[in-house]
């Protein structure tokens, strides 16, 4: 009996909404749009943080020591053509490695050449010189699709990230020519796809790269893996005492980036909040109008014996249906448009990590729909109460007048 009553309550509510199709649809669309913005934002929040974490973790070290100078200028110049790189002496490695907080360390040299035969106006190709002994140890996650790491520390060999090899159509045993320098290297390894910056990197033994570019004894950076029990801030202070170096703590970088991004996020969250409030007002308005238009009908229902709670439940069910449909539609839209949202965010943000920027999980969708339905139910209380308090005879008479 109760089961039957529940079904009929839902059917009546559904039919009531269907009587004013356009109004119901527009209200659901309003809720849907607000849900879409909310889910996309939370998805972005989660996705961006996850991708940034992965990008930074994939570096394998928590601290990067670079030569002192204006890093901004250096980065700009590098981006403009590989000039202006700041270098530090290689002997600094011994000073750093003697610190007790250091778990492992890997020296690196980056060199950039201009390749005039890349496209119509040329392009840059970057090479990362790495120490064959320490780099693989600091990044144990790297695995090979073909081949392996270098045979000797000054071997004329190259290891390519998956995408770099794909672009250059290289396989193990092939040759690779460094543009400008006309130096021939043998491909000894192709890395598996990692989804990180390593996919596009061309690795060369540090000594070999130093020789080719005449940069013996010079480094551009040193990656440091710090002991997990060490005090990072204290260690950073210690590193800053070294002459002519700048310390970049990746944890700080992550925090700073997240702070920068959160400014934009707060702004969009505020807009989303306004959208939610507007849609809540829309729900109240729609349901209230529906109640006002159906005073006679509600009066007849009450005259036939419907209790106040029955009327309250009926109006609340209508609100819940509207909110659920809007919420589900918004969630579907958010899932469908996540790649477009990601594309737009990448265009808008000055820095965006690799990998998915918008991650929409089932849990997020469930939470958003539940939240929207709950909010809708709260906003439906007033119209539902008003309907339930109508006096049958007055209600019938009012509408007749």
């Amino acid at each position: 009996m109760n089961e039957k009553a529940k079904i009929s309550m839902f059917t009546i509510a559904w039919k009531n909404l269907a009587r004013k199709k356009t109004r119901s649809l527009l209200t659901a669309v309003g809720i849907g749009l607000a849900t879409w913005v909310l889910i996309s934002l939370f998805g972005f929040n989660h996705g961006y943080k996850k991708s940034l974490d992965r990008d930074i973790d994939s570096l394998g070290f928590q601290m990067l020591v670079v030569a002192k100078g204006c890093p901004y200028e250096a980065a700009t110049l590098m981006l403009k053509g590989g000039t202006g790189l700041k270098y530090m002496k290689e002997d600094i490695v011994q000073q750093i490695i003697s610190e007790k907080e250091v778990e492992s360390i890997t020296p690196m040299l980056m060199q950039v050449v201009f390749d005039p035969n890349k496209g119509q106006s040329g392009g840059l190709t970057a090479f990362l010189g790495i120490d064959p002994h320490t780099y693989p140890r600091i990044k144990p996650g790297l695995s090979f699709k073909q081949g392996s790491w270098f045979t000797e520390e000054d071997a004329r060999e190259v290891v390519m990230g998956y995408e770099a090899a794909e672009l250059e159509q290289r396989e193990v045993g092939d040759f690779y020519l460094i543009p400008e320098k006309e130096v021939e290297l043998k491909v000894v390894g192709i890395l598996n796809r990692t989804g990180s910056q390593d996919d596009g990197t061309i690795f060369i033994p540090l000594r070999t790269l130093q020789q080719i570019f005449g940069m013996e004894g010079q480094l551009t950076s040193i990656g440091i893996k710090v002991d997990k029990n060490a005090d990072l801030a204290q260690f950073e202070e210690k590193m800053l005492r070294l002459p002519d170096v700048q310390v970049v703590s990746l944890t700080q970088v992550k925090t700073t980036i997240m702070t920068l991004v959160s400014t934009a996020r707060i702004l969009v969250f505020s807009i989303a909040l306004i959208a939610v409030l507007i849609s809540v007002m829309g729900v109240i308005n729609t349901v209230l109008m529906s109640v006002m238009e159906r005073q006679k009908e509600i009066g007849i229902l009450k005259a036939m014996g419907a209790l106040r709670t029955d009327i309250f439940k009926l109006i609340w069910t209508e609100t819940a249906i509207l909110c659920f449909l809007g919420g589900a539609g918004g969630a579907f839209l958010a899932g469908l448009s996540s790649r477009v949202t990601e594309y737009l965010i990448r265009k808008l943000l000055p820095f965006s990590p690799s990998g998915g920027l918008v991650i929409i999980e089932a849990r997020l969708i469930a939470m958003a729909i539940t939240g929207v339905v709950l909010l809708g139910l709260v906003s439906g209380i007033y119209p539902a109460l008003r309907a339930s308090r109508l006096r049958p005879l007055e209600a019938i008479r009012t509408e007749e007048e």
């Binding site: 159509q169 020519l177 910056q197 700073t256 820095f351």
Partner: protein, 230 residues
């Protein structure tokens, strides 16, 4: 001294924070190269170079996997007289085709392929008339010796007016045309880079075959098995 240290302290210098982010992202992002495929680097500019009279273009994607699968691949390899090989010349490679228009009239196509060269990847684009005749050759990317000569107009002009039929007797696996025809007349501008010259010819033939099978969709009987000769 302490002040100098503070100047370089990340926590107390927002400018430096931004600067450091830039440099770290440089390390994170710079080596990232474009995903494989063969797209024009600057379609607006490159289309105008190959079709100066064009007023617009449309882009679409095709692949052997979606257009016919292993059977189509067998036919393509048969016509090429060589196998698709290596890690990156696979059945699912997406090919970008640019359909070129002058107002509402289709005036041609641009299509590029990746090809393995001796020292790196080559990207060979052809500008074709609507019935498949080469009207332009563009070597977008070349890693190797003699790039300047291979990218020169004199070399590119040798491909003008050629059609797929002209390549039928050319065997890319052996690098010979038997009996000698139009392809044998194409001069290698860098004799010491014979591998790259052959790679370019293979790329042109592959490009024309892919256009024939995936775009023009002409009925072509399966060719002889790869490597069996003309």
């Amino acid at each position: 001294m302490r002040k100098t240290r503070l100047l370089f302290s990340l926590r107390k210098n927002p400018f430096l924070q931004s600067a450091v982010i830039l440099i770290v992202f440089y390390y994170l992002r710079l080596p990232l190269l474009a995903a494989v495929g063969c797209d024009l680097n600057d379609p607006e500019r490159d289309v105008k170079l190959l079709f100066p009279e064009s007023t617009g273009f449309r882009t679409f994607y095709v692949s052997v996997a979606e257009s016919g699968g292993p059977e189509l691949l067998r036919q393509i390899e048969g016509r090429l007289k060589d196998k698709f090989s290596g890690l990156f010349e696979t059945i699912d490679v997406p090919y970008t085709v640019y359909e070129i228009y002058q107002k509402n009239e289709l005036i041609g196509y641009i299509h590029g392929v990746n090809q393995k060269g001796r020292y790196g990847g080559l990207q060979v684009f052809l500008a074709l008339t609507p019935d498949g005749e080469i009207r332009g050759f563009y070597l977008q990317k070349f890693t190797g010796r003699g790039a300047k000569q291979f990218r020169a107009a004199e070399f590119a002009n040798q491909f003008k007016s050629l059609r797929l039929g002209d390549f039928d007797n050319y065997n890319p696996a052996q690098g010979v045309e038997e009996p000698p025809g139009k392809i044998s007349q194409i001069k290698n501008p860098v004799p010491e880079a014979v591998d790259d010259f052959r790679a370019i010819l293979r790329a042109v033939k592959k490009n024309l075959i892919l256009m024939e099978f995936l775009v023009f969709k002409k009925e072509i009987k399966a060719g002889p098995a790869p490597g069996s000769g003309p």
